[in-house]
């Protein structure tokens, strides 16, 4: 059972199209695993439908509907043989034979197709990261893998961090998070995730600004960031 969800405000921004690209990506991954939020999205979309249905056409709307329609049909006729981008189920890229990449939500499979080579780098003992290209530069989007039973260095963030569990589970001082769980850490919040003992954990994470490590390791890596930003 998924315990942690994006809040209604974030879902509404997603449905109305104002939520930024990287956050929308991770919300979409959550929606594909969470029937509860998918049901809420239906309501949010139908608000858009209701507002469209009650929209007031502009007063100076004098444009000839008939000619607009024939212009459209002209375009349709010249494009009739162009087939829509083939919507195939994302093929499994090579790393997906590993259990952590089994049964990913469709949007994450697509993301992996666009990032066929994952470059894993070791951040600390038991923690690896692979950055993902998503077509925007405001946020860092990455996979994080925590080895079974391993602790991540205590750290905080200069910006908001959103994490979604794709495989396995981890815990921090506030709770246990498993597949589908969606959690938001605000800037300055300190936490120390720990993977459960029995299996590896894979997360999709979106961070606004580079992670600032504050633990012992952090002081070594990032001495100038040892003052915790507020």
């Amino acid at each position: 059972m998924i315990q942690h969800h994006p809040d209604n405000n974030m879902l509404l921004e997603y449905a109305s199209g104002s939520l930024n690209w990287a956050h929308s990506l991770v919300v979409s991954a959550h929606l594909q695993l969470c029937p509860k939020c998918a049901a809420q999205l239906k309501l949010l979309n139908s608000i858009g439908g209701a507002l469209l249905e009650s929209a007031v056409p502009p007063a100076n709307h004098t444009d000839d509907t008939e000619s607009a329609f024939s212009r459209l049909m002209g375009r349709i006729d010249t494009n009739e043989n162009v087939v829509d981008r083939v919507v195939e189920d994302a093929k499994n890229p090579s790393p997906s034979r590993e259990p952590v990449f089994s049964s990913l939500p469709p949007v994450v499979k697509k993301l992996m197709q666009r990032n066929p080579v994952l470059k894993w780098r070791r951040l600390s003992k038991g923690l690896r990261e692979a950055r993902l290209k998503t077509g925007q530069s405001r946020h860092e989007v990455a996979f994080h893998r925590i080895a079974p039973g391993n602790k991540v260095a205590e750290h905080d963030h200069r910006g908001k961090e959103i994490t979604m569990v794709l495989y396995g589970s981890f815990s921090d001082a506030d709770g246990v998070y498993s597949r589908g769980d969606f959690l938001v850490r605000e800037p300055g919040e300190v936490h120390r995730p720990t993977a459960t003992l029995d299996q590896e954990c894979l997360c999709l994470s979106v961070v606004e600004a580079p992670v600032a490590l504050t633990g012992f390791l952090g002081k070594l890596v990032n001495p100038f960031l040892s003052i915790k930003p507020q």
Partner: protein, 191 residues
């Protein structure tokens, strides 16, 4: 005719377009939705409300409606909700084209992230056109300060923080107005 049968009519026409590429049905849909799309777009204000921009949006949205009609399922959404999601994706597409990022070409597309074909919900027998009508009625009974932020979010495409800056309200106030509005709309659906 009652609003309910009227909305069912658009769904029926859309199914006809999807199943048999019915051009007469499509023209009726065009005549209904083109002015509404313009009305929706006009509320955005600023340069995007130029009449030419609204005309182009109509062309793009209705082009996609024609193409995607075979995947329309009236048990999943009403016609107007479905057209709304297509229009929303067109707007996101347009915004992205205007602010090209260096690595966008091989990256995800709008329809990958806002994927309305994906539906993992257990089948619930809610008549979608009825949901639509109930939400329409619910919206018109919201207190003005709540419906105002909802309209800004959807019609002007503004985020909560943009609305808070524009109205000079604390972000928390905007968020709670949105939450209260949603609570109210939800309660009308459960009844």
């Amino acid at each position: 005719s009652s609003p309910q049968t009227r909305d069912d009519e658009w769904s029926t026409l859309l199914v006809k377009v999807g199943v048999s590429r019915d051009r007469v049905a499509f023209e009726k849909l065009f005549n209904h939705f083109a002015p509404l799309i313009k009305g929706f777009q006009f509320s955005r204000g600023g340069q995007s409300s130029a009449p030419e921009a609204a005309d182009e949006l109509v062309q793009e949205v209705m082009f996609r409606v024609w193409r995607k009609a075979p995947s329309f399922d009236p048990t999943v959404s009403s016609a107007s909700t479905w057209v709304f999601t297509i229009m929303r994706n067109c707007r996101i597409d347009a915004l992205r084209r205007n602010s090209r990022q260096p690595d966008t070409d091989d990256s995800l597309e709008v329809d990958d992230i806002w994927d309305e074909r994906f539906d993992n919900q257990p089948l619930v027998y809610l008549q979608q056109s009825r949901v639509q009508i109930t939400v329409e009625a619910g919206l018109s009974s919201l207190p003005p300060e709540q419906s105002h932020v909802i309209e800004k979010a959807y019609m002007e495409g503004k985020s909560h923080s943009e609305i808070s800056a524009e109205l000079g309200l604390p972000l928390g106030t905007v968020k709670s107005r949105v939450r209260l509005a949603l609570k109210k709309l939800q309660s009308t659906l459960v009844r």
